[in-house]
Amino acid sequence: MNSTKLSVSKLVTTALLGLFSLLFLIPLIWMVSAASKFETEVLVYPIQWIPTKWNFLGNFEQVWLGKVPFTLFYLNSIKLSLIMTLTTLLFSSMAAYAFTKLQFTGRNLAFGLLLSFMIIPSEATLVPRYLLLKWFGLYNTHGGLIFMGMFSIYFTFLLRQFMMGIHNDFIEAAKIDGAGYWRVFWGIMLPLSKPILATVGIIKFIWSWNDYQNPLIFLIKRDLYPIPLGLQLFRNDFADNYAVLMMASLSAILPLLLVFILLQKQVIKGISLGGVKG
């Protein structure tokens, strides 16, 4: 008796929250709808959620084959995000390995220092970082952006938490077989850390893909732009052509949506690990 009564109230709550979630997603639904319309119909009121005349392909063509090279921005974003993700994974897990499985003087001090670096906001170091890139000849290059996106205290911390749980027996056994430090790291620690590496990798990829501030300040050449800056160009060029702008926005979000929907468990787990963005 009690359980059926409970499930009725649960059903009602589900329906209400379902409605609310649709309301919550209206901006995104509107984006998809507008991206499928002709410009003249986008701002017609009342909103036609399903277009009467479809122009999805037309907008698609404008975005992907038009005068603003969206395809190039896409390739730039893929390249930057992939390299930043892989290098971050490598350097963070190397540091995490040292912090968890190697005994050496200064280890705890180094860890404490690293944690204290966390309070330095990257927004407060924009001016000197600009100078650094100039000195290194990395200003206005992809190399400069990658250099700034290779290190993460936060991910080092997450990987360290995970590696602390890896049993030392695995390492001892490998050492008896004659494995050196690098082989222990590469052949044992990394394979055993796969779950956390996947989680961290996905999150880092998403953050790199969405980064706007660094490219805005450290890139000037249009051909080097990643997606977020490309969107800004679109906004300038197609100021009031919302159909095209919405198609561009949809195109920018789509890969992330796919990654997220396929790997939602990993992403959500990674964020729940106690996420601090940055």
């Binding site: 379902g18 701002l43 180094a110 690293l114 170091t125 939602q264 959500i268 729940s272």
Partner: protein, 309 residues
């Protein structure tokens, strides 16, 4: 007798031990090196160097040789700079609205999604989508929705009888309001996910016991859920508080701090003074103001946490 027998044996063992220790020392630091050196170059050196720059005048165009030490002039100028006052005020308003409202709404959502609905996974994904999406793409969508004359939001407001709806992003009284609405919307899923993680750490037995004792849902929420969510709440409070002082992307993309600096914030001042007006010394002084604000928040939160433990 026994000792003298052991001594000759111990020496090589000891030597091997020290060799091993020395090797592990070198290897350990080598493994740490990229991360450690990288962060020294990209974080520690810049914040120290910007402290020096903040006492200098430097307009970049003249190269390094044109750096002049000017003492505290930049900080004095900041005291009188109305754009800085505006930025601080806007950062405070932004914080006062996004932090409590965002946390409150996310908590309610989390409680419902965690245990009161079917299809938990769908709701997690639905509310989380804006967080993983590019904030710039979302900003583009909202810029259309907020369009002053023909945007869906104002069309709707006109229909329901609001005679002069605000011009939102183009309106100096409402630009910050519009940004706040977007920011709350975009970040709610993240906070909800963190709350759900906190909620799933609360043992079910507590609720079962409370049910047996006849405690109402509201009583359970205030006597079990809320106190046990304490650490999650303070974590979210501190991180969103710090984040709200670093807000930049949406503002830069949507309003450029305008109209009339009505939506300008500290990080936008750094960007504009440093990279538009090329006043690198002044931009560094603003950077240090930001660093101090974030630093003080961090210190206070550490103090409070230590007290609790």
């Amino acid at each position: 007798m026994v000792q003298s027998q052991i001594q000759p044996l111990a020496a090589p063992v000891k030597k091997a031990y020290w060799n091993h220790k020395r090797k592990e020392f070198v290897v350990g630091w080598l493994f740490l090196a990229p991360e450690f050196v990288g962060l020294m170059i990209l974080s520690v050196f810049p914040i120290v160097f910007s402290l020096y720059l903040s006492f200098c005048e430097w307009n970049l165009v003249g190269g390094l040789s044109s750096i002049h030490f000017i003492g505290i002039d930049n900080f004095v100028a900041m005291l009188e700079d109305e754009k800085i006052h505006m930025a601080l005020k806007n950062n405070l308003i932004f914080t006062l609205f996004t932090v409590p409202i965002g946390i409150f709404l996310a908590l309610i959502l989390a409680v419902f999604v965690h245990s009161k609905v079917y299809g938990k996974e769908y709701f997690k994904v639905a509310f989380f989508i804006p967080y993983i999406s590019s904030i710039i793409a979302l900003g583009a969508v909202w810029s259309a929705l907020f369009h002053p004359s023909q945007g869906p939001i104002n069309q709707f407001l006109l229909r329901v009888g609001v005679e002069n709806p605000p011009k939102w992003l183009a309106d100096s009284h409402y630009s910050l309001v519009a940004i706040i609405i977007i920011a709350i919307w975009a970040a709610i899923g993240y906070k909800m996910i963190i709350f759900i993680a906190g909620l799933s750490n609360i043992p079910d037995e507590l609720y079962e016991a409370a049910n047996i004792d006849g405690a109402s849902q509201t009583q359970q929420f205030f006597n079990i859920t809320l106190p046990l969510l304490g650490p999650t709440l303070s974590f979210l409070f501190i991180t969103t508080l710090m984040g709200s002082f670093k807000v930049f992307d949406l503002i830069s993309f949507l309003t450029g701090g305008g109209p009339n600096d009505s939506s300008t914030v500290l990080v936008y001042r750094i960007y504009e003074e440093g990279f538009r007006n090329f006043r690198m010394g002044y931009a560094s002084a603003i950077s240090w103001l930001l660093f101090l604000i974030v630093g003080v928040i961090t210190m206070i939160s550490w103090k409070l946490q230590n007290k609790k433990n």
